[in-house]
Structure formats: C-alpha cells, structure tokens
C-alpha cells in the first residue's frame, strides 16, 4: 500500500465514478525534525558593489598593543614640505570572480579536542579560488566554553563545479574575517575526501589565524585616509637619550627626568616617530622598571626596541575610572608638574585605543582636572585599569584616494595611500585608513586599522623640538 495526498476528486458525468488525483506522500516529511534537517543554505547578502566595504585588513603582521589592533606599514617623509605620510598594505580584491561559490550550511559543529581553537563564536567562509574568491556565505560556529583545544567542522558543502583553489576564511565576526590559507598549504584546516568535482564537502578547522588578508570585497573602490590631531597620546612625550641594551631588556635614558623609582612600572611606552628612517616601526612595550631618568623595557621584536633620538610617549594607566571619568595621577610628573590644564580638554574627544573598551565610540570631554577627564554622558563599555586612552581633536581631515582596481592578478601588497600631513607644526596625528566604496562611504574609522605618528616641525626638518606634553 502506498499513501497519497488527495489533490482533487471530481465526479464523472454520471456521478457513479470519480476521477481521483493525488501525489505520493510520506509521513516523515511532516516531522518537525525533518524540516529542521538539513539546515538551510544562505543567500548571498554582501557584495554587488553597493554595500559599504568591510573594514580594511592590511594583511601585515603589524599589530598594536599585543595584537589587539591591526596596524599598517607607515612611512613619514619629512624631506618634503609638507611631510608626506604613506601607508602600505594589501589591497582588497574587488573584481567579482566568475567562479561559482559552494552552498554551505548555516551552522558548523564543534569538538572540544584535537585543535587549538578557543571558545567563542566564529564565522567561516569557503573560497572557490584562494584569496581571489568568491567566497560562500558565512557559516556560524559557536565553540562552547570549557577547553582551548577545540575544532570546528563544516559539513554538507555542495559544489557546483570544480574549484580552482579551495581555501577558507574565518574570524570572530563578519568584519574581521581573515584568510586561513589554501587547503593545499595551510595546517589550519583540512578537507574531506573529494566529491565528483574533486572538491572537499567537509572542512575541519584546527586553528584560526587572527591576522591576515581580508575577504575579497567587490564593494571596495578606494581608500579613505583620516588624520586627526592627537592632543594627548599619553601622560608625557620625550626624545630618547642614551640606550643601553642588555640580554633581554634595554635601558632607555631621558635627560632631565626626575621620576620616583618604578613610577612607570607596568606602563606602556610607545614609539611615535623615529627620525632618519622613513618606515616607522610600531613599538608598544610595557615598562619593567624605572629609576630617576631611565626606563627598563623588554627588547621586543626590535633589537634594541628603541634607539637614541626616538620620540616616544608614555601611555596613561587608567587609575581613575567611573561611569563617566577616566584619568591617571601620573599626568602630573616631572615632565609636567602641573598636569593637564583644568578644563582645557573640554570639547575634545577621549578615545580608548587598547584594553577594556577599546575602540568603542569616542566620547566628548565635558571637563577635566589636572589628572582626570570627565565625559558627557557615560561610557559604552566601562573602562578599567587596562584601558589605554588618547585625547583627540574633535575634527578630522579625510581624503579619498584614487580608485583602485585589483583583480588579484598581481601582487596585492604595496603602497595604498600617500597624503600630505595635515600639519606643518610639531604635532602628533592619528592616521586611520578605511576601505571605501564608490560613494566614499566606509565603516566607521574606529573599526579600521590605525597608526599614531609624530610629525616634526617642518620649517627646519633636522632641527625640530617637541613639546613635553603629547
């Protein structure tokens, strides 16, 4: 016996016979679980060149504050007037690829052993052709808390044709997806046995790289470069005097300093400008200890980390935080005996750039004492002692570069933007570069990579003086 669902029942002319029409039926189709498995495939949602591009991923292994934030390669040329700021990185692929993407499930499964993936939520996309894409829709993987040895598996991938170069992207959210490598070369992910096209239908991720190239993005059109005056990048700034390297640390001396012992222990000292060289290293090091005029810092990746003549700033260590304040008693130091000028910061912006609350929206300063800033309203994310903040001018200068067409056929790394510095005076600048679409729209700059740099006075480039207070 076979079941069928009645579609129509019509009497014949005499009513003694009926014409029955149906369609074969199976009960299990109407189980709730049948409808929920397999899970649905998603549509393409991003792309078409009309969206706002994803935040720029320079693809450079330059990260500020222990990889908390991407940077890009920055050059400052002070031999020209005004100084020229140039940035290098990888340009997003913005030409749609004709290769057809695979259909993927909405969700992935996880295992708590066998890998190196930490708990959290991840998005995954499969590329049909390496860094050129196109990529599939995003698969969500929720790795539960418990172990740090997790793996993620994406199963049920359906390919329409043979892929040129199967690869994968992954990241914690859609604006931070990072190339994990081609299947043939990466150890982060492996594929299952091939289907009839030679493509794997299941992918297992053992690790997820936090940094690298971003997604191909056909909305990308050009770069937006935003320069903002840094009113205070730290509690003080100074030029490095003598540097004495040791095995694992370096002593850097600051003439004229009169600090108390270990006043700067656990503070972060950052490079703002290195004269004599065009490429500006990105250096943020935590102070091990200090004497009256000397900081002891780790060597870091650069040996030694700092050299004589470097312009550095000492980051604040937020000792005063509340729902609407942030501050540091060390705004008052031997370099700045009076600290901040009372209420001189009103109207400026305070931006947390590392630690808790990093790159939540900048807040307007309502008032300030010599050591504490009070903002209008309250913090979006309550800062704590890990929060490193800077004070910015409320206005910025944004310029859009010429359009960039990148089909990935040539090396994508290189100069992406070169703009004149927005100052001819000795001034520190926050440089943020974002990927913009044809209309000049871009993700908010707080999601884009950034660098901070000190621009020396331009009148006599070799004879600049810097303010003690940055």
């Amino acid at each position: 016996m076979q079941l069928f669902r009645l579609l129509s029942a019509q009497p014949q002319a005499d009513g003694e016979s009926w014409k029955i029409r149906g369609q074969f039926h199976q009960d299990q189709w109407y189980e709730d679980a049948y409808g929920q498995n397999p899970v649905p495939f998603q549509q393409q949602a991003h792309g078409s060149g009309r969206s706002i591009p994803y935040p720029w991923r320079p693809g450079v292994q330059i990260a500020a504050f222990s990889s908390q934030r991407l940077g890009f390669e920055l050059e400052v040329d002070t031999t020209v007037y005004p100084a020229q700021i140039s940035a290098s990185g990888s340009t997003p692929v913005n030409v749609p690829n004709s290769t057809t993407v695979p259909a993927v499930p909405l969700q992935a499964t996880t295992s708590n052993t066998g890998g190196l993936i930490l708990p959290g939520t991840y998005l995954i996309a499969i590329s049909a052709n390496g860094t050129l894409g196109p990529v599939s829709r995003f698969v969500t993987a929720v790795v539960p808390a418990g172990t740090s040895t997790n793996t993620i598996t994406v199963s049920g991938v359906v390919w329409p044709a043979a892929a040129v170069n199967v690869a994968a992207y992954a990241g914690p959210n859609s604006i931070a997806m990072v190339y994990q490598g081609a299947l043939a070369t990466t150890s982060n992910v492996t594929g299952s046995a091939p289907d009839s096209f030679g493509n794997p239908t299941s992918f297992t991720f053992f690790a997820i790289s936090p940094d690298g190239l971003g997604l191909p993005d056909d909305s990308f059109h050009a770069f937006a470069v935003q320069q903002t005056e840094i009113v205070h990048g730290g509690v003080w700034g100074a030029v490095v005097g003598v540097v004495t390297p040791h095995t694992t640390t370096s002593d850097i001396k600051f003439p004229g300093a009169a600090w108390t012992s270990n006043q700067w222990q656990n503070y972060t000292v950052s490079l703002y400008y290195r004269p004599g060289g065009v490429v500006q290293p990105l250096i943020d090091l935590v102070v091990v200890s200090n004497s009256t005029d000397t900081l002891t810092v780790p060597k870091g990746v650069h040996v030694p980390a700092f050299i004589a003549g470097d312009v550095v700033i000492m980051r604040p260590l937020a000792g005063h935080t509340s729902a609407n304040t942030i501050g540091d008693d060390n705004f008052i130091s031997s370099f700045n005996p009076s600290g901040l000028t009372v209420n001189a910061e009103a109207g400026n912006l305070v931006q947390i750039i590392a630690g808790t609350g990093a790159w939540s929206a900048a807040k307007t300063v309502a008032s300030n004492t010599a050591t504490v800033l009070t903002i209008l309203s309250t913090w979006d994310v309550m800062p704590d002692s890990t929060s490193i903040f800077i004070v910015l001018s409320p206005t910025s200068l944004t310029s859009i570069t010429a359009s960039v067409l990148n089909d990935g056929s040539v090396a994508t790394y290189g100069l992406v933007a070169s703009v004149p510095a927005a100052t001819t005076q000795a001034q520190s600048l926050l440089i943020q570069i974002g990927a913009a679409n044809a209309a000049g729209d871009f993700f908010p700059m707080r999601y884009q990579p950034f660098r901070e740099v000190y621009i020396p006075a331009q009148a006599t480039a070799s004879n600049f003086t810097i303010a003690r207070q940055f």
């Binding site: 019509q10 009497p11 014409k19 029955i20 189980e31 929920q36």
Partner: protein
C-alpha cells in the same frame, strides 16, 4: 487568525462562513511550541507556525495571491465542511496527526502505522483505500511526474526575521540529491510565501516543499514526486470536500 482575518476582511466571506472548530484546531496545532537551534546554535523554543506580514499600497497583490502565500507559510489546507458547507481549515501533517480517528465515508477503518510530528510512533486512518483489484477502474491508473517547472531543487524566498529585529532576510534551501541528479543545475521555482517570521519555520516549510516536489515517488529518491491519477468504480463523494486528505492505494501489478 491572521489568515481568518485576511479572508474575512477582503474576501467574499464573513466569520459566520467559517467552520470555527476546524480553524481553532488548526490554530492550536500551529501554537504548539517546538524546539529549534537559533543562529548561535542554542536550543530555543517557539510556536510551530506563525505568520507576520503586512499588506500595503506599495506592494499590492490580489486576494488570491495573498491567500496562497499565507497558506504556504504554514502548509494550510482550505476545504468545505461537507456537513455544514462552511469553510474549514487544516494543516498538512502526517497521517497520525492529520487523521487520528476513523473517517466517515472511508472504506478502510483499520489503523495504519504512522509517525507524529514530534517523531513518536502513532496510528492514523485513511480517508479511503483504493485498490486496483476493485475500486480503481481497469486501465485508468496512470502515474505522472511533476513538470520541470514544478520540480525545483532550490527554494528561495525573503522574509522579515523576528530573530534579527525584523530585518530583511532571505533563505535559500537546496536539495543536494536533486541538484546532483539534475546534472548540477540549480532549478529555482518561485515559492509564493508570505509571513515567514524566522529561519526555522522557513527551513521547515522549504524542506517540506522540496520533499513534496522531489521525494514522493516509488523509488524514494529525489527524482521527482509522482502523481497517481485514476477513475474509481465507487462513489467517493465524501472525498470531494477532503482535498489534502491522505488516502491509500494498492496496485499489485505495480508492486504496491
């Protein structure tokens, strides 16, 4: 009730034309909470079927189109109650859930093993059992396939996602078996549906639509659903008002 309001407000019906008990029973079935996995892979619970839609001047459609789209939102069957002539409403289900008791007018009141929506075993009763040895007129049985235009391997539609602040969302469901058997061609057929409020309901409706289009055949593969058609030797008048009912067919020559 939204469906009721739509027909009563814009169609040639008033609420007194509705067979209220059947509408209430259908609504109660839709209200049953079922579990599902949300986008974060967390088990949640919501009503089996709900609808959420708006008709406005910028998106005009005929009443017939609106009714069809809402029917597809939950697999709704409309028919006439033969006892009182009123419009009755039911939901497409498996035999045990849809026809749990013997049906007046049926020639076969033996319980048939079935499975319920929650996956547990149950029994149901056929609206009629047609037999090639008796109730099917000789040489009239033919089994047709659905046309290519009625056999999609992918169903796509847009909806407002209640789990994402009612933003525009879309769902595309592909049947991998049908995709492969069609020579790796995507065959899209418009799925007229409105009011889907979330991915889970959308996925369940899309999967059932694909199953009804693809897997209703004697081979139990994705080659397309088959449509039996035949003349009876008996009066089957009670079936005239039972479109959507589940019947049985026996035909020894075809081994079923």
């Amino acid at each position: 009730m939204a469906f009721d309001d739509l027909i009563a407000s814009f169609g040639p019906f008033s609420h007194s034309d509705f067979d209220a008990p059947s509408w209430f029973a259908a609504a109660a079935w839709c209200d049953v909470p079922i579990s599902y996995l949300d986008a974060n892979n967390v088990t949640q619970s919501h009503a089996r079927f709900r609808s959420s839609f708006a008709l406005d001047g910028a998106n005009r459609k005929t009443l017939a189109q609106a009714v069809l789209e809402l029917r597809n939102c939950a697999g709704i069957i409309l028919s006439k109650n033969p006892a009182n002539g009123k419009l009755q409403c039911s939901i497409k289900r498996g035999l045990a859930d849809q026809q749990p008791a013997p049906i007046t007018g049926s020639n076969y009141n033996t319980a048939v093993a079935s499975v319920k929506a929650d996956g547990t075993a149950g029994v149901g009763y056929l609206a009629y059992l047609f037999d090639g040895a008796g109730s099917i007129k000789n040489n009239t049985l033919q089994i047709d396939g659905r046309s290519i235009n009625d056999t999609p391997n992918r169903i796509s539609f847009r909806f407002q996602n209640e789990d994402n602040v009612w933003s525009d969302d879309s769902l595309s469901q592909i049947d991998p078996n049908a995709y492969v058997s069609s020579g790796n061609q995507v065959i899209d057929v418009p799925f007229a549906v409105a009011g889907i409020p979330n991915f889970d309901q959308g996925a369940r409706r899309a999967n059932v639509e694909l199953a009804e289009a693809l897997y209703g055949n004697l081979r139990n593969d994705a080659g397309g659903t088959e449509l039996p058609e035949f003349d009876t030797t008996v009066k089957a008048a009670h079936l005239a008002s039972m479109v959507g009912a589940i019947c049985g067919i026996k035909y020894d020559q075809l081994s079923f």
